[in-house]
């Protein structure tokens, strides 16, 4: 396209926030009738810009991918333009590659997004057939009731989004959580990307520290930024580009001087712990100078040894923050931490040498890291270090101890609750923590295992695609197929019969191992293909939703178009099922159970938001939530800068919280933080992982990338993204590839004791010899097919990163090589 329409004056304008990553960049949506177009003169277009001249760099521009034409339910057609908001403090006018294509994700009957689900579907043995909402809701409610009545609440399994942004939000999470936890009361629950309903940062919570403690501003104020197991250039893009990079480039030096009068301001440094030389490493070096970036290219699973060695050096050099620990930490946990974790009975040199051997990081670099994190500054002031971590640590060797190790390092160095500091996840998706507490305990029940054992009779999946993302994915899919078959046969045998008779037949099938599968989705995903009942949901932009980003910034993402066909918001689907269940229990004269499904009469998105506001208490160890006094009206007025949670009413006015733990209070019974001891120096691999590692040659590290959001549910449909990675790529070292006769762009097969998967070889110096990296959870190649069923026994979090496999060449892909770039993805100059 060599032209885009300009929004005319009078076009509708909405503030909104990107549906994708945790950063939550602000965008502006313009909507106007498809028959109209603004003119290039500033008085002729809604942007007020003179398009008779080219716009300058860093200006406002509408790229062709930022425009779409949509059709509302009344048949009216509208232009939509979605461009980054120059006034939003999160992204400061920047778009990422993902947010830059938001307009392409909108439903349009004449575009690839026509694949959206538009009506409920029932599979009665001969493929999905359209059904009415009344029938779909009635059938699902009857099934859930029959399962609860016969097998108990835990026989109802669920796996749901449980996040913010697109396919989530406070409204949908509150409805889903309330229905399954307070209503059904099942413990057989799980979160979108893992087999259980658990925090990924239990260790932080046990230490009394929230998951998201800092403000993005702190990255502009820090002396040192530590990044463990994350690649923010690609996957937290505008937090990195708009807040970290300016500090690395020195452009926030004046801000630092003004914020900390009299304090030494040295050029900022960054430490990146990542087995790969990523684009983040390359760009940090370009911004700060290579001498101010320390890349610790660790061996898989060795994070605990690394972080504990750094902490031990800090302790030995007396760089720890004794005043902070005395005032704000339970002292006896510090003593235990020194003994059990930091091995004070072992000489320092021996301890550090052992860590160097385990991690593959030279002793000198371990000392350098400790120095950059905690050595006093020029005038003896404490260094301000911002500690960030994500899936490399969370999905590492041992989830609990991994997270404990970084939280402990933050406590040891006093880097929490002060400007320029913090210890936080970098995050994947946005957050929306509001829901009643999970009724199960810790470690949470493994839903995948419960399904395989036949304990789940009804499995309800919403806004996620476990067939692509779970561990041992092929076996999981096999279980869906096998357990779904008898139910499908029962539905087929009773086509046209009264619903009561059909439910009776399904229950008989359940007695023989059958499982009824409901999928609530926007597309017919790989998981939805196994569903007996598919319920079409609204997406971002089709309902009002609220979410927080990685600095807890709460904003309203307004509805600006209609969902396709009969699709409705997730909360509305749940509310309809809950109301029907209540009626069914009332018909049974079972008021006890009927009352568990009371108060689902919300009339609007905001009704749910306000209901959650009054009911949701969060929990003491996770003081990030709460939004007293916040209404949609307030959020509309605050626009894309929103308000940071927790929000408290001060003299009747809602007041947000820039950073957590500033008052020195932590989420423990004593109000003081706790060191969480981790084993020293390193616990080693679990038996099943060690076996896989011994028998297979290559480590298959895996994760996300710049272009593709999560399972590619939108991006596989959009040419700009799909054309970049038509097949998931596998980064390989050149010498490894040569030894196997593999050329860049070849189709290769990975196989191990769990399964096989294929990918396109992408030769890269990002990975060391013996290491590879594959895109996670993709529709044409799910690395989950190789992941063993080992989980951290303390938290039920899988070791998704712990995959070893053999690789062989399958074929050349000449047509793909002709069109798809195989140039390096980790160079900045």
């Amino acid at each position: 396209m060599s032209q885009v329409p300009l929004p005319p004056r009078g076009a509708q304008k909405f503030d909104t926030v990107c549906q994708f990553c945790i950063v939550g960049c602000g965008y502006h949506v313009y909507k106007w009738p498809a028959t109209r177009e603004g003119g290039p003169a500033p008085t002729e277009n809604a942007l007020g810009l003179d398009f008779r001249q080219p716009q300058p760099p860093m200006g406002t521009w509408i790229s062709p991918n930022q425009h779409s034409v949509v059709t509302d339910r009344d048949g009216s057609r509208h232009n939509i333009v979605i461009i980054p908001d120059q006034t939003c403090r999160v992204n400061e006018g920047l778009s990422s590659v993902r947010g830059g294509g938001l307009a392409q994700t909108l439903y349009a009957p004449d575009r690839p997004t026509r694949a959206r689900l538009a009506t409920p579907l029932i599979d009665e043995g001969a493929g999905p057939v359209k059904a009415s909402w009344t029938d779909a809701v009635d059938l699902s409610a009857r099934i859930v009731k029959a399962v609860i009545d016969r097998w108990g609440a835990d026989a109802v399994g669920m796996k749901f989004f449980d996040h913010g942004g697109g396919g989530g939000g406070f409204e949908n999470n509150w409805a889903v959580g309330r229905f399954f936890f307070s209503g059904v009361g099942t413990r057989t629950a799980s979160i979108h990307n893992r087999p259980a309903y658990n925090s990924e940062v239990h260790a932080a919570a046990d230490a009394g520290i929230a998951a998201l403690t800092n403000a993005y501003l702190d990255a502009e104020l820090a002396d040192t930024i530590l990044i463990v197991g994350a690649n923010p250039y690609e996957t937290q893009t505008n937090y990195y580009l708009a807040h970290m990079v300016p500090n690395l480039r020195g452009s926030s030096a004046d801000l630092r001087r003004a914020t900390f009068p009299g304090e030494s301001v040295e050029a900022a440094r960054m430490i990146i712990v990542d087995p790969r030389r990523t684009m983040t490493v390359a760009t940090a070096e370009a911004a700060a100078g290579a001498e101010r970036v320390l890349h610790l290219q660790i061996e898989p699973g060795s994070d605990i040894a690394l972080l504990n060695a750094i902490a031990r050096i800090v302790l030995a050099r007396r760089w720890y923050d004794v005043a902070f620990i005395q005032e704000r930490v339970e002292w006896q946990t510090f003593e235990a931490y020194q003994r059990s974790t930091l091995g004070v009975d072992t000489p320092l040199d021996e301890f550090v040498a052992e860590a160097a051997q385990i991690t593959g990081i030279p002793v000198a670099k371990l000392h350098q890291a400790a120095e950059w994190i905690a050595a006093p500054k020029a005038k003896g002031e404490r260094r301000r270090t911002l500690l960030h971590y994500e899936k490399g640590l969370i999905w590492g060797l041992k989830n609990y101890e991994n997270v404990a190790a970084i939280v402990d390092l933050a406590l040891l160095t006093g880097n929490i609750g002060k400007p320029g500091t913090g210890v936080s996840r970098l995050g994947g998706h946005q957050e929306a923590y509001v829901r009643p507490p999970y009724p199960g305990g810790r470690p949470a029940l493994n839903v995948d295992e419960a399904i395989r054992r036949g304990e789940v009779k009804c499995f309800w999946v919403g806004g996620c695609n476990p067939v692509l993302t779970t561990l041992r994915a092929e076996a999981f899919e096999g279980a869906l197929r096998e357990r779904g078959a008898p139910v499908r046969a029962a539905l087929k045998a009773t086509v046209g019969r009264p619903v009561g008779e059909r439910v009776t037949a399904v229950v008989e099938a359940m007695k023989n191992g059958g499982m009824f599968i409901v999928v609530q989705e926007i597309y017919l995903t790989a998981t939805a293909e196994h569903a007996h009942l598919v319920l079409p949901a609204a997406q971002w932009g089709e309902m009002n939703l609220t979410s927080i980003n990685g600095e807890r910034r709460l904003r309203l993402y307004p509805k600006f178009m209609d969902p396709p066909g009969e699709a409705i918001a997730d909360w509305m689907i749940i509310a309809r099922v809950a109301r029907r269940l209540r009626q069914l229990y009332l018909d049974d004269r079972n008021t006890l159970w009927a009352n568990r499904f009371l108060d689902y009469d919300w009339r609007s998105d905001e009704d749910v938001f306000i209901h959650a506001r009054y009911q949701f208490k969060g929990d003491a160890s996770d003081p990030m939530e709460g939004y007293s006094g916040v209404t949609y009206d307030l959020l509309r007025r605050l626009g894309n800068n929103g308000i940071q949670t927790p929000v408290r009413l001060v003299n009747g006015t809602p007041v947000g919280t820039v950073r957590l733990h500033e008052g020195g209070k932590f989420g423990t019974a004593s109000g003081k933080a706790r060191f969480i001891p981790a084993p020293r120096p390193w616990p080693g691999y679990a038996a099943s992982v060690a076996r896989q590692r011994k028998n297979h040659r290559f480590w298959v590290n895996n994760g996300r990338s710049n272009h593709i959001w999560q399972t590619s549910y939108h991006h596989r449909l959009i040419p700009f993204y799909q054309g970049r990675f038509p097949i998931p790529y596998l980064e390989m070292h050149a010498e490894d590839a040569r030894a196997l006769g593999i050329a860049s762009g070849d189709l290769v097969e990975l196989s191990n004791d769990v399964g096989t998967v294929r990918a396109m070889a992408y030769i890269s110096d990002a990975v060391k010899r013996g290491h590879t990296f594959m895109l996670f959870g993709q529709p044409r190649g799910a690395v989950g097919d190789l992941v063993s069923d080992h989980v951290d026994p303390a938290t039920t979090i899988p070791y998704y990163k712990g995959v070893w496999a053999d690789i062989r060449r399958i074929a050349a892909l000449p047509e793909i090589v002709r069109a798809v770039s195989l140039a390096p993805t980790n160079v900045a100059s």
Partner: protein, 178 residues
Amino acid sequence: MKDDEHAFPLNGFPVTRRAFIRIGCTTISGSLVAGMAPALAAAGVQSAQGDNYPTVDVAALATINVDMPVPFTYPDANSPAVLLRLRQPAPGGVGPNDTIVAYSALCTHKGCPVAYRPERKLLICPCHWSSFDPGKAGQMVIGQGSQALPQIVLRVNGTMVQATGITGLIYGRETNIL
């Protein structure tokens, strides 16, 4: 087997996940390419019809050397562009072995001028490090741009390489011809 196949309607062509894993190699590349063709057309070279593009002499064929970028402007003086001779044939390439290509030099992210790095064979933006592959129709390799780098349509007229059109929209404009 049937349940096992997840049809993903990809630009009108069904490609299945497990089938992709299991079927033979000829079929794989055949079906993938069939599925991709519209995507590639949309992402890469498109018709430049409808705009009244000027024909402009860029450089004499004999003066264009590998890895020696030739800066020029097109379609007007406010639109920096760069002409390159690559070592391999390239989509949209003209001249010897179809190796000569040209692109708008404005990054599709925020409009900073991209620079050609011969050692990388990439056009890289110094502002936020988006990079574009001149041998792959300007495809963004990594970065934050919102589309491929607009490619300048070239032709060889006698001994002269001429620019005659553009595929894609140049940064900062609502239409390429102002």
